[in-house]
């Protein structure tokens, strides 16, 4: 993958409307998460008892919750929480999964068979159920949510890694590299992985969208971050009883989740259009 190609792909991504909108949403979301302290008008857990359940207005732009906490600030810190969980879990899943898949395909034979059968087993569970089950057994908290999501997504990356390696390992340029004396690691690192970059990138984008949804779902069910730490899912869940009094407390976190998921889905679609000519 040379520099020109990369630049060319990026330009094409910007010309693809779903890629462009997705990229804008994702960049906005990541920026909000990184600069949470600067952007948030209030500390996320600061209570203003006199201003409970205020509708959106000049001071509290998106209103306040039942403890008088500023909803906008909590949403901004919630973005950080969901991004941290999503990026860490998908990062672990992608690194381990691709490594396992590539190695399995590269070694081949019995070990490939055994590894892939074990991986297949994880596909025998509905994804959200497996995440829920692992999170429930490990107990609430961001770390356990990360583990749960990583375990669910690892097999998907293993399959992508394996498919790429199988496709490439017997190509002529790999034989050429081998005959020039390249070792196994060099072949995997310089030849197989770069060729698998495109499908892996598409998968990462879609995995991030799913991870955000799963984090929100787990914290909605009380299995995610521990309150009062702000998480979009638990904010929505806690506000449900107040919905008739203060609908914004439910609407805002829900919309935040939707926007983040939409961003990664659109980016994933755009990446697929640009990087995978076969699917065009």
């Amino acid at each position: 993958m040379n520099k020109n190609w990369r630049k060319h792909s990026f330009v094409r991504l910007l010309r693809n409307w779903s890629g462009l909108i997705g990229l804008i949403l994702v960049v906005a979301y990541v920026t909000v998460a990184i600069f949470a302290e600067t952007l948030a008008p209030f500390p996320p857990n600061e209570q203003h008892p006199a201003d409970r359940l205020q509708p959106p207005g000049p001071v509290y732009r998106l209103g306040t919750d039942e403890f008088g906490r500023d909803l906008l600030s909590r949403l901004i810190f919630g973005a950080r929480n969901s991004l941290q969980v999503a990026v860490t879990s998908v990062g672990i899943a992608a690194l381990l999964g691709v490594a396992i898949g590539v190695l399995a395909a590269y070694i081949g034979g019995l070990s490939d068979n055994v590894i892939m059968r074990v991986i297949d087993l994880l596909f025998a569970f509905p994804a959200i159920l497996l995440a829920l089950f692992i999170a429930a057994v490990l107990g609430p908290g961001a770390r356990n949510t990360i583990i749960a999501i990583a375990v669910v997504y690892l097999p998907i990356f293993a399959r992508v890694g394996r498919a790429t390696a199988l496709d490439i390992k017997d190509r002529e340029f790999v034989d050429a590299a081998r005959s020039l004396g390249a070792g196994h690691l060099r072949i995997i690192w310089r030849h197989i992985l770069p060729n698998g970059a495109a499908p892996i990138m598409v998968q990462v984008s879609l995995a991030l969208s799913w991870a955000i949804l799963t984090e929100a779902s787990l914290s909605f069910l009380g299995l995610g971050v521990i309150p009062p730490a702000p998480s979009w899912g638990s904010m929505l869940s806690e506000s449900r009883v107040l919905m008739e009094l203060a609908p914004w407390t439910v609407l805002m976190p829900g919309l935040a989740i939707m926007i983040a998921i939409l961003g990664f889905n659109l980016l994933g679609d755009g990446l697929r259009d640009v990087l995978d000519p076969k699917l065009q």
Partner: protein, 317 residues
């Protein structure tokens, strides 16, 4: 065909074994002592009492031995007892299952009923307002978490229409079909919307893939009308990826039902699982997870078989 089905049925056995091993091993990840996890930390046990309980539950044996004991009793339908209710786990599960199954079936019907026609419309009128509207719906439907959609339904219904969808006791389909449908329609819609969104997307792209193929051009040039082409040529071929997706996603509905049942306070399998989790009723958690995974695998198998019916090319391989 029969041989194919038989072969697929046989592959179920190792999968089910695998599921049981995964669930068994994950259950051992419960932090701390299993005994205190089982009976709660409020009881201060002496070491002798804890050892006696450990021996009673077979926890003093090696892991493979424990698995073997658990598996042999599970194969006889004995998944243990719920610590909280004292009822057999299997009985608890089976009494809650009909609701979840009904929810999943309704959601599938809604997903296919909306997704396929809208997908066809969107593909045949590519670029038109219908197409843009349908694709926007699909994008939003896939981005909206079911717990958000369900909560909005409840809000709109209770504030603007004046009905509470989850008020009162749940009535089964056999007791009072009309009341049951009233209770189920919104949960099913909640679950069905995301399903419809992905069915619509798959239908649209499968149709578009076929629309420019040679056989369609031939059909058109021999003067067939557009509806006939869509119905008897395009759809037949586009159906194959749609069936794969529907089968795959229908299984996922068992997972999604957990959240929707929680939102609408429906006493199904999902809520059973959630309350078992919060009450640390581990035998029940274990049994429910295995039961749902079994159903998931079964639905995927049915989808595979349906797929061979739709695609004769596979059948005779």
């Amino acid at each position: 065909m029969q041989r194919y089905i038989l072969r697929r049925l046989l592959t179920l056995i190792p999968t089910l074994f695998g599921i049981s091993i995964v669930v068994f091993l994950v259950m051992r990840l419960i932090p701390g002592d299993t005994i205190s996890a089982m009976i709660g930390t409020q009881f201060q046990l002496t070491e002798a009492q804890a050892a006696a309980l450990r021996a009673y539950f077979g926890l003093d044996k090696s892991l493979p031995e424990q698995y073997w004991i658990w598996l042999t009793s599970a194969l006889q339908g004995d998944f243990g007892y719920s610590v909280r209710s004292g009822q057999p786990v299997l009985w608890e599960i089976l009494s809650r299952f009909p609701l979840t199954l009904e929810l999943a079936i309704f959601a599938t019907l809604i997903g296919v009923g909306i997704g396929v026609p809208v997908g066809i419309l969107s593909a045949t009128r590519r670029g038109a307002a219908v197409d843009i509207g349908a694709r926007t719906f699909a994008l939003l439907g896939m981005a909206a978490p079911s717990f958000f959609v369900g909560t909005i339904f409840i809000y709109v219904l209770s504030v603007y229409v004046g009905i509470l969808p989850n008020a009162g006791k749940y009535v089964s389909l056999w007791e009072d079909p009309i009341k049951n449908l009233q209770q189920m329609i919104f949960p099913a819609l909640t679950l069905g919307i995301a399903f419809a969104a992905s069915v619509m997307r798959t239908t649209r792209s499968a149709m578009l893939e076929q629309i420019h193929s040679d056989y369609v051009r031939t059909a058109r040039s021999k003067g067939l009308s557009e509806p006939v082409i869509v119905r008897s040529h395009l759809l037949r071929n586009a159906l194959i990826p749609i069936i794969t997706l529907v089968g795959f996603e229908a299984g996922y509905l068992f997972g999604g039902a957990v959240i929707v049942e929680d939102v609408f306070a429906l006493p199904g399998l999902g809520r059973l699982l959630l309350s078992a989790i919060s009450q640390r009723d581990y035998a029940l958690v274990q049994g429910t997870v295995i039961f749902i995974a079994f159903n998931f695998v079964l639905v995927n198998l049915l989808a595979d078989i349906a797929y061979t019916f739709a695609n004769p090319r596979i059948r005779y391989e």
